[in-house]
Symmetry: C2
Subunit: 370 residues, 2 copies
């Protein structure tokens, strides 16, 4: 890391060093996303790969140039999946030390977790990572967590969702900024997502003479994402050289569509429950007025029913289009007493002018909420 | 065509012959699409390939079984692009004769047309085909034109649109039923689109012992569509064996989204022009109220601006997201006198609280309309 030291030294002599093009573009994205520029602690998820190393180095530039004034904490989770994972952890630790930044590490056994939870390896690793980041954020009273997802990650995600037959919400891809979860006020942001290609991150690391780490699991085509990256995207690129950017643009437009329709679905749900007998306060999946729903456009109604079922069940797991379509069909005609079955044993029943949600348990409270 | 004759003979002996599974599924789709079942003349576009031959044979079954009572006219356009095209035309003619159906043929020179119009071969062939079908429909006073697009055509179209970075409208794919054009009351329907795979059509032709024709241009990977069919879709299928159906489902959902948002855009345009000084009747791209637009969700506003520009210019050719984004930016702030340039020399100007459309010519009438 000689070159890095040299950069640091130069950074110390000039009071406000000129920042690189990569760091400059990061700063523009940072402001566009309205991320805090001072008085905040920020957790950066660093794997040691090119993307997160580039983000780390560029943030370091912005801190030194005093464009940002934040407490940056480097957080590394060792998934314990590979031989080299301990060496990766040491490498990230030494880079953080080099840059004078706080460093937090934890080791987990993703395989064990996966076996316990029934998740696959990718899901289990993802879950472990976000749990670790959340815990670290709380420890440091950080309000912002950063991950280094790039335009390429976005394109891969959109394609994976398309391969599953997702609708607009799924095809919206990864959020550039969102709350970590509905109960938290910690923000999760991806400041590279809207502009940086993976190759930009690699080039930038090289220009800083930092040898980022390689994860051999990124070469393993038994992972669908790796196969998309290695085989599907390159083939798509032979049709359109700017396919990654095109997918990102499409996802941004579909995100706008989904947002508008979801807001309308909220309003529709409000209207459809207005005249229901449900007691005030007891708003979880209150009966829905059939006539109010039936006049709404299909795209809004479908989303309203989905949200309503989510309220009733506590989650939307295993809910598929066939279930929604079955509930939607209850709106046709005047006949009451019909029922649509949902996964997990919940049911929706048409009773005259109302759709009623029946959870699995007799007390009307869904399992997840009790 | 011995087997075919046998089938016909069988059809004649039994008064209401049992129809095949393929014909049955066609009939279900026919009714779902609310296509006429009697008292109508129908033009069927027949290339001689598996898809249109299957549609022709299945319709013949339904006519013989008296499930449909229509005048069916077989229409074939010889594009003059291939050696074998004359033989194809003769083959379709003899099949129509065999089935006792009217047959219309025309020969065109697609290459010459393409050279004259600047279209590529595919566009030119498509345009020639639909002109021919429209003319034939008028001759026969037909109210319905059928093409034999399958689920596979739908998937290919969606992928081609995705490769171009289309939004929800583009990703909605091919319409199962639509008006041939805005000035016509002739319907264009694709009754195989929602359910039939190409292989189903081929299998059905074989089961009827009809040797459909092969178009060697369907093997030429310099055509993007052929390359999607031959290389991209098979690779996608290794991720999801039901990828064609998944894409069709996605497109149906995005179509619902686009429809809801487009209807809202109509309403928004109406609201935004309500207080404009434009004379009554002069509704072509009347000035738009900035405040009305600015409060609408981005997805609705974008579509409203697009429609409005289309009204002003007469078409939407070469209008891209960058142009729409430039017009959208005129809504920000309070400063008037700003202008966004459109392709073809049209402009949109912000004048105090209004967006004004300026066509290329000084009299305010756009080129296309004059």
């Amino acid at each position: 890391m000689k070159a890095l030291k040299y950069q640091r030294a130069r950074g110390r002599t000039a009071k406000r060093p000129r920042v690189s093009d990569f760091a400059n573009r990061l700063f523009i994205a940072w402001r566009n996303l309205k991320l805090p520029t001072d008085n905040a602690s920020v957790i950066l998820a660093a794997s040691g790969g090119a993307d997160s190393t580039a983000l780390l180095l560029a943030l370091d530039e912005l801190l030194r140039a005093e464009k940002l004034s934040l407490k940056l904490v480097v957080a590394h989770l060792d998934h314990g999946l590979r031989e080299a994972s301990k060496a990766d952890a040491l490498w990230v630790a030494s880079l953080a030390l080099e840059l004078g930044l706080d460093y937090v590490k934890r080791r987990t056994d993703v395989k064990k977790r996966a076996a316990r939870s029934g998740d696959n390896l990718e899901q289990s690793a993802r879950r472990a990572r976000y749990e670790f980041l959340k815990k670290t954020a709380k420890e440091y009273k950080a309000t912002l967590i950063l991950t280094a997802h790039t335009l390429d990650d976005q394109a891969e995600t959109i394609i994976l969702r398309l391969l599953r037959g997702s609708a607009a919400e799924g095809l919206s891809g990864i959020d550039a900024v969102r709350l970590l979860d509905s109960k938290s006020d910690i923000q999760l942001a991806r400041p590279l997502l809207g502009w940086a290609r993976r190759v930009d991150a690699e080039d930038y690391c090289r220009s800083r003479r930092v040898e980022f780490r390689h994860d051999e699991m990124n070469e393993d085509e038994t992972f669908a994402r790796v196969k998309v990256r290695k085989r599907l995207l390159p083939l798509m690129q032979t049709f359109n050289n700017k396919i990654v950017e095109a997918l990102s643009r499409t996802s941004a437009l579909l995100r706008e569509d989904a947002k508008a329709l979801s807001e309308q679905a909220d309003k529709l749900l409000e209207l459809a429950t207005q005249r229901s007998d449900q007691k005030k306060g007891q708003t979880v999946a209150a009966p829905l007025n059939v006539h109010v729903l039936a006049t709404a456009p299909a795209a809004v109604r479908r989303r309203a029913l989905r949200q309503w079922i989510g309220q009733g069940r506590g989650d939307l797991r295993r809910l598929e289009m066939v279930h929604l379509a079955a509930v939607d069909r209850l709106l046709n005609g005047k006949l009451g007493g019909r029922t649509a079955e949902l996964p997990d044993g919940c049911r929706v029943t048409r009773r005259r002018e109302w759709l009623e949600f029946k959870s699995k348990q007799p007390n009307g409270v869904s399992r997840e909420k009790s």
